[in-house]
């Protein structure tokens, strides 16, 4: 980490000085310098400090935008004033590919009850019912999800009662989400609410299992920039059957059959681990964490899946695929590596991406000087082993925790305890996640829920070669002359998952870091004081 001239501890001290005392005290716990040993405790998943300028989103965003948004054939009806619908309309970059042009796809539409003043005063349930009937009349969907925005809970509209009534009336699956924006401390609460509702109302409703020897679900992959397409390509090439994707390029039917899979693999631990946990309890499906961000990580994840099925044919096929794909990856990295190695990245985004993308940078020979999540919990930083010790504060306590029991008819353990233990010994890592910090170098700055001020100071002092965050940060950072890679939208590039994705990422990072324009920011008259020199003016 050649660029670090200022001790990160010193940096932290300077930054905290700027804050009011109470704020400094709180931020102190959210900023760590990694000492390379066992991860230290970080304060995460706590309310952002009022006035601090955070990048976080709300619960509604996490529930409707992240988890349910990518499913093409559920009509996502937002119960609330129009703003929450309009600003969430197509602004998350999930892609979806219906099998035929005639197949249902409602993702381009924006469904809202468009609540008015009078609905706030007199209640909005009637309007909601009317909207449900209208949407059914026009589109005849298989399913409708109703999402609550802030006023809904406050004025006492019961979206669940409406959902039940309409479900009965219309004969299709209709369910509500109490995902008011103020619940919890970030979009993370919304993920949990979404997960709960999927378990309660959707998963396990259809026992028709798809054909296939090796059936898996992919959890926490949202098909940004076509990531899911690339993973589907790889799985198909390996002979794996993807029963359901939660929720990139998904349909409600996939969710309903998800319990027929024999393994759950998790990409984004933060947003979806609840579903994996509950499905294990209810249906007996084991899960482990995978990572398809990074070519080596992808290869490793594939091998673990093959290992799980304990099938020589599959293992052989997976090795063939890896060999074939890695040849292309290798060629790409060889071209790019000399131009990227030694460069420095920072990542502040999401609940898993800030961790996963360090893999890709590492493949490019780049180090991650600082990283942090927007809405991660302690386990995403420190590993799941700390879960029992996490204190649930008042802000998160209101998020329902479902009590799940084994399904009477559908519970079927896929592996015996012995098999699980044996596979764990081979590195399958069931139910494990070590978190981001375990993979980071000594001296790295870990910052949860980074504030704008901290971000500016990071850049001013450490001048990273690339900064990874989202659209809110993009233009400030680039005004400073530092390229910012958006890791929510991928800056409209991608896919970045899997092997082809890795190649795309190498090329895009090369493109950004070696852009000619960054070298031309200063005007010639700002660098050579020509007038004075030549004419003594």
């Amino acid at each position: 980490m050649g660029k670090i001239e200022i001790d990160p501890l010193r940096w932290k001290e300077e930054v905290l000085k700027k804050y009011p005392k109470k704020v400094a005290k709180k931020r102190d716990k959210g900023i760590l310098v990694h000492d390379g040993e066992m991860p230290k405790q970080i304060m995460a998943n706590v309310r952002s400090i009022p006035g601090i300028i955070t990048a976080r989103g709300c619960t509604y965003a996490g529930c409707k935008g992240v988890v349910l948004g990518p499913t093409r054939d559920i009509i996502n009806l937002v119960h609330g004033p129009i703003g929450c619908s309009f600003y969430a309309w197509l602004t998350r970059r999930n892609q979806t590919l219906p099998p035929t042009p005639e197949s249902e796809n409602f993702m381009n539409y924006c469904f809202s009850t468009d609540m008015q003043d009078s609905n706030i005063v007199f209640g909005g349930e009637l309007k909601l019912k009317q909207a449900v009937r209208e949407v059914f009349e026009i589109f005849k969907p298989k399913s409708i999800g109703i999402f609550s925005t802030c006023p809904v809970g406050l004025i006492g509209d019961d979206v669940h009662a409406v959902a039940r009534e309409m479900k009965e009336e219309l004969g299709i699956n209709i369910f509500g989400f109490s995902c008011e924006g103020y619940k919890g401390v970030s979009q993370s609460a919304g993920h949990h609410i979404a997960n709960n509702t999927l378990m309660k109302h959707v998963i396990g409703r259809n026992d028709t299992a798809p054909e296939g020897k090796y059936k898996i679900n992919m959890l926490g992959e949202y098909n940004i920039g076509g990531d899911a397409f690339e993973l589907e390509r790889i799985f198909e090439k390996c002979g794996l059957t993807l029963v359901s994707s939660f929720s990139g390029n998904s349909t409600i039917e996939q969710f309903e059959r998800a319990h027929t899979a024999d393994l759950n693999v998790i990409m984004c631990h933060r947003s979806i681990n609840y579903v994996a946990e509950m499905m294990e309890t209810k249906f007996g499906i084991p899960w482990f964490k995978v990572n398809f961000i990074g070519a080596d990580a992808s290869a490793k994840s594939l091998r673990r899946i093959a290992e799980y099925f304990e099938d020589a044919e599959l293992m052989a096929r997976v090795e063939e695929v890896i060999a074939e794909e890695m040849a292309i990856v290798k060629e790409a990295i060889e071209t790019v590596y000399p131009r990227t190695t030694g460069k420095v990245a920072m990542l502040f985004v999401g609940g898993s991406r800030a961790h996963h993308y360090q893999e890709l940078f590492s493949e490019l020979g780049m180090s991650t000087l600082s990283a942090g999540y927007e809405f991660g919990h302690r386990d995403d930083y420190e590993g799941r082993r700390v879960i029992p010790t996490i204190q649930v504060d008042a802000d998160s306590r209101n998020i329902e925790v479902l009590t799940i029991e084994a399904d009477e008819t559908r519970y079927r353990p896929r592996k015996t305890d012995e098999e699980i233990a044996a596979l764990n010994a081979k590195g399958c890592g069931f139910g494990e996640y070590d978190g981001m910090m375990a993979d980071m170098a000594k001296g790295a700055l870990i910052i949860d829920d980074i504030s704008h001020y901290e971000m500016e100071k990071l850049i001013e002092i450490y001048h990273p070669d690339i900064f990874c965050a989202g659209i809110k940060e993009k233009y400030c950072v680039q005004k400073m002359g530092i390229p910012l890679k958006q890791l929510h939208s991928y800056d409209y590039g991608g896919p970045y998952a899997g092997f082809e994705g890795a190649v795309n990422f190498y090329n895009d990072i090369d493109m950004m870091i070696n852009t000619s324009i960054w070298k031309m920011i200063k005007a010639p008259w700002q660098v050579e004081p020509v007038i004075e020199a030549e004419y003594g003016v």
């Binding site: 700027k18 309310r47 952002s48 006035g51 601090i52 004033p81 197509l90 006023p151 103020y182």
Partner: protein, 395 residues
């Protein structure tokens, strides 16, 4: 830059005062602005927080440093539309700052209306060209269109200043551009400081710009310089040249009323046919303005605003009888693609193209820029799709 008071479920029970006060303290300490503008949300409105009282309290309890300000307005999403919120905060600028002093000022207030920084810059350029001193508010030029310099300016050089806002109470006259966005502010300024005002359309197109220039001239008693007459003549010249390609072309439009009204007038001045027009923003003024513009010239035109006047309706109309051109924000691209209609991006938000913040559509020059886009959209399609024997080198 936007900060939040970070409400949670607890706040919704106990009220947001503590959060807002802490936010104000944090912001002044860390980011040191001159003004904090507080916008309410559905949440704070629904629980009934008295933001005015909280802001008062912030001052009395010392959270607001000397010489600094906290202003506020009500912006619940369930009242009116985004334009309502805009208008409310503009009005709040008057409420909090405009003051009558003993010295009248030889200046005109321009309440800018919802438009791009490029448009605000162009409206100021025109008034400067006429030798008129103006105070424009809000003013996003040199704020939302700043250069890449290697330094992030948290508070860029542009925009209106507090002393300028204070001085609006001493101005000779106010031009409010766009009745939806700007009329309330101008009305309050008259009530509060006795500054007379006119409400005009945003100067989009020949006639609206004519009215803008005339109004500036009347208000300031300054004659119109030849350079403006020449700019006008160039737009007239261009319209004459383009006329045969634009004549009778059917256009569908959607967006905000203050944009749509002068835009419709502009299309009509080129003998185009605005046949379908929708705006999600409610209010009678839209219907009145559109009826006046369209009743005689395009009696077949359909227009609607407010609830249910959405792009789904527009798309249905288009499917019933197609149009040659679609004008609206980026969301129009889905209809444009489905129906193979060229799209000219005007309005908010434009999320998929660059340039709107740098090149205006207001004024005579902006009008030229806009109709060049319109013509190109139509001719590019023609060039691409016409029969092989109809490809023209010269057009």
């Amino acid at each position: 830059m936007a900060a939040t008071s970070s409400f949670t479920e607890g706040t919704s029970v106990f009220g947001g005062q503590a959060n807002l006060l802490q936010a104000i303290e944090t912001i002044f300490t860390v980011y040191n602005p001159d003004v904090i503008a507080v916008h309410t949300t559905c949440l704070s409105e629904t629980i009934g927080d008295d933001v005015n009282q909280i802001c008062q309290k912030a001052r009395t309890e010392g959270y607001v440093p000397e010489g600094k300000f906290v202003i506020h307005c009500n912006t619940p999403s369930y009242v009116g539309s985004h334009v309502t919120g805009y208008a409310n905060m503009v009005t709040s600028m008057v409420k909090h700052f405009a003051t009558v002093s003993t010295t009248p000022k030889n200046q005109i207030n321009l309440v800018a209306g919802w438009c791009e920084p490029s448009d605000m810059r162009e409206m100021k350029r025109i008034s400067t060209q006429m030798g008129i001193k103006t105070v424009m508010f809000p003013d996003t030029s040199d704020v939302l269109d700043t250069p890449l310099t290697g330094k992030h300016e948290f508070y860029p050089s542009g925009g209106v200043t507090i002393p300028e806002l204070v001085s609006t109470g001493d101005s000779k006259f106010t031009l409010a551009l766009g009745s939806y966005s700007s009329e309330d502010a101008a009305t309050l300024l008259e009530t509060k400081c006795k500054v007379k005002f006119s409400v005009l359309d945003l100067p989009i197109g020949l006639q609206a710009t004519d009215k803008y220039v005339m109004a500036l001239s009347r208000a300031s008693k300054m004659p119109v310089p030849d350079s403006i007459t020449a700019d006008r003549g160039r737009l007239v010249d261009m319209i004459a040249d383009m006329h045969q390609y634009l004549y009778n072309k059917r256009v569908a439009l959607f967006g905000d009323p203050d944009t749509l009204v002068p835009l419709t007038e502009f299309l009509l001045s080129m003998d185009m046919k605005p046949v379908y027009i929708v705006s999600g923003t409610p209010g009678k003024k839209f219907e009145t303005a559109m009826t006046n513009l369209l009743l005689k010239k395009v009696p077949e035109a359909k227009f609607k605003n407010g609830q249910r006047a959405d792009m789904f309706l527009l798309h249905q109309w288009i499917k019933q009888e197609p149009v040659d051109l679609l004008i609206g924000n980026s969301y129009g691209k889905y209809i444009a693609r489905d129906e193979n209609i060229p799209l000219v991006r005007v309005g908010f938000p434009i999320l998929d193209r660059i340039g709107h913040s740098h090149f205006p559509i207001v004024g005579y020059q902006g009008g030229m820029g806009l109709i060049i886009k319109i013509l190109n959209a139509i001719l590019d399609k023609e060039d691409r799709e016409c029969a092989e024997e109809k490809v023209e080198l010269t057009m």
